[in-house]
Symmetry: C2
Subunit: 291 residues, 2 copies
């Protein structure tokens, strides 16, 4: 496994790859502190491509001033061991100055998407994501890039940026990986105390309740949200940032649930902000059957 940190070197490696054997490249962008969620993306990339590139870059542009940039978990040695075991070909871990040298001044802004959901409490986050991912796509020239459904709004932003700018990369979004109790895996779970970790299960309980309600034919957004709020507010260490049911492309909130709409939430457990989401499936055929 090659570990590359300079832009010049990654360009050369990719150029050689493309020239030599015209292999397909699968790409998994990460901020490191890898868990089974990331590894599920890597494994899928391995299955579908000749070469797999993983980036590890804690991107300063996607952190707000008072966010956890400096204390974000960094476990580079362990990450490399995990990726090597998975048969990854190249790890790209540029420094911030390599990515954003003096004079850097280009913003990539997903205008109508960046102020919704997480964007409200994380201004500038999604433009930070968009510019870094676009740079990686241009450098690594993947055929397919892999993202986890857990970061739902991020996947919507990336798909929109790629489509709007005609970037020749296929975006695949893979299911959220959860622990045995249902908590969505996240590098930020490392911040949680044992109590907070147990309490955090209310997120999945609330999402599952929403899914069941929609499954059973409830389309009234207000009704579903009220049920979810009840479940989460019962948990004392939880503070709701938002819960919303939205169109999966525009992120506009919907008054009435349609098939494929997404219920997304952000909740603070103590000082740790967690996000999660599920897609709602209206079992119309099923409910007709019952009737």
């Amino acid at each position: 496994m090659q570990v590359i940190s300079s832009i010049q070197a990654i360009k050369q490696s990719i150029k050689a790859l493309i020239k030599e054997n015209r292999s397909t490249i699968g790409f998994v962008p990460t901020m490191g502190a890898l868990h089974e969620g990331h590894l599920s993306l890597v494994r899928q990339a391995k299955k579908e491509n000749d070469t797999v590139v993983v980036s590890i870059f804690v991107n300063p542009l996607q952190f707000g001033k008072h966010e956890d940039f400096t204390r974000y978990p960094r476990t580079f040695g362990n990450d490399c061991n995990l990726l090597s075991q998975e048969g990854v070909d190249i790890v790209f871990n540029p420094s911030a100055t390599e990515m954003y040298p003096d004079g850097f001044c280009t913003s990539v802004i997903p205008e109508s998407l960046e102020d919704k959901l997480c964007g409200k409490s994380r201004p500038g986050h999604f433009r930070g994501v968009a510019v870094a991912v676009l740079k990686f796509f241009n450098l690594i020239q993947p055929d397919i890039a892999y993202f986890g459904q857990k970061d739902f709004q991020q996947t919507v932003v990336i798909k929109r940026t790629v489509s709007d700018l005609n970037v020749g990369v296929t975006i695949k979004v893979l299911p959220t990986i959860r622990d045995q109790h249902g908590l969505a895996l996240s590098s930020r779970n490392a911040y949680l105390s044992e109590t907070e970790k147990t309490d955090a299960l209310c997120l999945y309980t609330a999402l599952t309740r929403a899914k069941t309600l929609a499954n059973m034919g409830t389309t009234d957004t207000g009704e579903i949200l009220r049920e979810m709020e009840k479940i989460i507010t019962r948990c004392t260490s939880a503070t709701i940032d938002y819960i919303a049911i939205v169109n999966p492309e525009t992120l506009e909130t919907v008054p009435k649930v349609q098939n494929g709409d997404v219920v997304a939430l952000a909740v603070r457990m103590g000082k740790t902000r967690l996000i999660d989401n599920v897609t709602l499936i209206l079992m119309i055929a099923f409910s007709c059957l019952i009737l």
Copy 2:
């Protein structure tokens, strides 16, 4: 010569080109109404590449509300004849809805460059340029793209965007083509009356004076600008938008001229806004010789 207007078709053509013969692609983006300035870019592209693609797209995003989008000269038939004679392989002329379909919401913003020089009186212009050119680069995947020095700030913005986003395209900037009297060729010259056209020569006279002053060792920006203003204000139909001497990468105005700085100007001749520029060369060796 293929004339292509759909994104799907241009993607297929480029894919086939790259797959079949690994030829190099030269690209000249234009808004049509072609003149010898554009053709000089096309000829250079022909010399240096196996395949030449020219886009003709009057990009609505780079026009302000009260600018000349609707009356901008459109001479598509004639343009195609000219390009065919030059041996161009592909003309790409997408519609605005093909380029910016419903839901399009991505901005590409050259933050520290867009509010300078022309940006002051054309807010939004350079982000409009940046996003269209980036889309063309992603669709056409050129090895080299060609721009004219006449649109100096545009070339600075494009070079910065390409560098910041790690786009794998080489940008070549070719000299401004002028008529026999020195007027820089521009599609907008078609708007000028005969009197305005004659008066417009004061732009080149002023720029030449600046060049001579710098050549002779004058480095005081104020002195050069005053001389230029004198020349232009003498011409009654001319209204100065700006004259500035700037660093050719940052576009910051400089108090003292350094080798390679650019003197750029925008002047209204009646209702028509013209731009022009020259690079200043300090002939230090030459002036030492005289001393």
